[in-house]
Symmetry: C2
Subunit: 340 residues, 2 copies
């Protein structure tokens, strides 16, 4: 009999999620059905998108219901198995939820949880470069942004999980890469450690001036994770036939006032440019392609994975809030248990 603790959504947040929006519950895990496994969750991924899942209303994925275990991706180890497709001791990644144990099916198609190879990269990297953020970065950049060698790629939230991989992949593809991030530490990191050509500190001055300085040839691809003023500043510098990837809008997620649209959107008209949304789940069938390519770059040392690990399941609510306050540095990951 396994005791399992969970964070469930207690109330729909107004603005930034607060402690009372969560309920910490404890229950006994149900016995395994045919085809099911029990996974001990080791790491959970904390992502800006989680804020959207807490809202009511139509979106690209159904909202988390009140009383439901909060949705989250994670990696873990199989402790018990009734499935021919996973053995005890296998490592799995899946949407395990904010809980200590996940019980669910593992089938041949790996629909709910897929096996991962912990020798290719450390476990937290499977929630980062080799996980959803990496998939988002890879397909958003290559499939929607379509950068060509020599073009200028700008990415916001550059030190965040998605942004750092966007920029590193763009460098691998031969682009000039300019990040936008908050604070000198993050900016120094993406330039000195990750090899970006430049990084604009949006807290230090107007982004427009930074773009003018660091994108002398204009902007061909903008990978937008933030929306708001920064999106407008980039729109003012785009080139003919520029591609803007709308991946997120973290500046707007906790708004209690209406979202502010990009006032400079007519730059799309003047420049015959494109703004297009992307949702990573659409690329599920192609994840192995990205894992292979990103994994090879990782092993060759051409790109890096950096995680910000918060230790302790019970710190979930505070850790999530760090995301929206820009306090994490690297992909934010919650450590739930030690790997055996």
């Amino acid at each position: 009999m396994t005791m399992n603790r969970q964070f469930r959504l207690a109330a729909r947040p107004v603005g930034l999620p607060k402690a009372t929006d969560w309920q910490l519950t404890e229950e006994t895990s149900a016995p395994l059905k045919d085809g099911e496994v029990r996974v001990r969750v080791l790491y959970l991924s904390l992502d800006p998108a989680m804020r959207g899942w807490m809202n009511e209303g139509k979106s690209y994925i159904r909202p988390v219901a009140i009383g439901e275990v909060m949705r989250a991706g994670g990696v873990g180890i199989v402790e018990a198995s009734n499935s021919p497709h996973a053995a005890v001791g296998d490592y799995l990644a899946g949407i395990f939820g904010v809980q200590q144990y996940w019980t669910g099916p593992v089938d041949a198609k790996a629909a709910a949880a897929m096996k991962i190879d912990p020798t290719l990269a450390p476990l937290p990297a499977w929630l980062n470069v080799l996980g959803m953020p990496g998939m988002t970065a890879y397909f958003g950049l290559t499939d929607i942004g379509q950068p060509k060698a020599g073009e200028t790629v700008v990415v916001s939230a550059a030190a965040g999980a998605v942004g750092m991989t966007v920029g590193q992949v763009a460098k691998q593809l031969g682009c000039r890469v300019v990040g936008i991030a908050g604070g000198p530490d993050k900016c120094r990191y993406v330039v000195e450690e990750l090899g970006f050509d430049a990084c604009i500190d949006y807290k230090a001055g107007p982004v427009a001036a930074g773009l003018k300085e660091h994108c002398p040839q204009g902007v061909d691809v903008y990978f937008d994770n933030v929306g708001g003023d920064i999106l407008d500043a980039v729109l003012a510098r785009i080139n003919l036939k520029a591609r803007i990837v709308i991946c997120g809008a973290i500046s707007q997620y906790n708004n209690t006032t209406p979202v502010r649209g990009p006032a400079n959107y007519l730059a799309l008209l003047v420049n015959r440019a494109r703004m297009e949304g992307m949702v990573v789940f659409d690329y599920a069938a192609r994840y192995p392609e990205a894992v292979q390519r990103l994994g090879a770059w990782l092993q060759a040392g051409s790109i890096k994975s950096r995680e910000h690990v918060v230790d302790g399941f019970e710190h979930f609510p505070d850790a999530l809030t760090m995301l929206f306050e820009g306090k994490n540095f690297g992909k934010l990951v919650l450590k739930v248990a030690d790997a055996p």
Copy 2:
């Protein structure tokens, strides 16, 4: 010696252009150089885009300078020719400017002025379905919007020059077509005369309710001529993989306050949809293809061309203002002289 009258830009307008923003001048036409022709202008095209050309600053085309003859498309007849590529009596279309006579080169590539066939359609139609608005509608819809038979296409300013052709072409391509226009007369016209499936009167009530009623399957292609609230209302109803063609934003052109961006732009993310700008001049090499296809539809009676003709060169300033007040009904054309 030919006396030529011209409207020149006297001042950059703030908001709606007013009488004092223009200067009416008169001068003798210069003698013809080698390769040049003199065209007597018969009709001039009045277009929302002209408002943009009056502003200073970088755009898809250089601004009209203070003191320069206002830029405008027109059709006319050759009265004198020093070019082997045009004979006296030929009809030409070109960017002739707001003046009674145009003097300029006609070369083999028809770069500045191209010959038109007045037996294919009446002269004003060469400024409408077979002119810039028709080219804009045809390439914006087919190349950027890419509608498939059975999809729902929404077009704003539906009774305007571009909108009426967008909707009629979309019907020819097998789409459900819903217009948005101001007032019952325009709405009745696009449905009863042009064959749109429905038209929403934005002056009669919320556009959102009309879209809900008339687009039960959502919106696959939106051809936007207006921006503002209407763009936001359509964004709230788009389907997965929808295409939004940004062709213009007449609601914003005379703003003295900043342009309001589309607050619902994150619908692009949720729906993996695309918003893309288009400028008709990019398709210049393909105009003959569109003239042929639209001309055939016109002659077969499958599509219609409707012009609103204001008679008299001297009425140019007031006629232009009609555009921004929604007072024209059909493509607005200024008649400068009778065809011989």
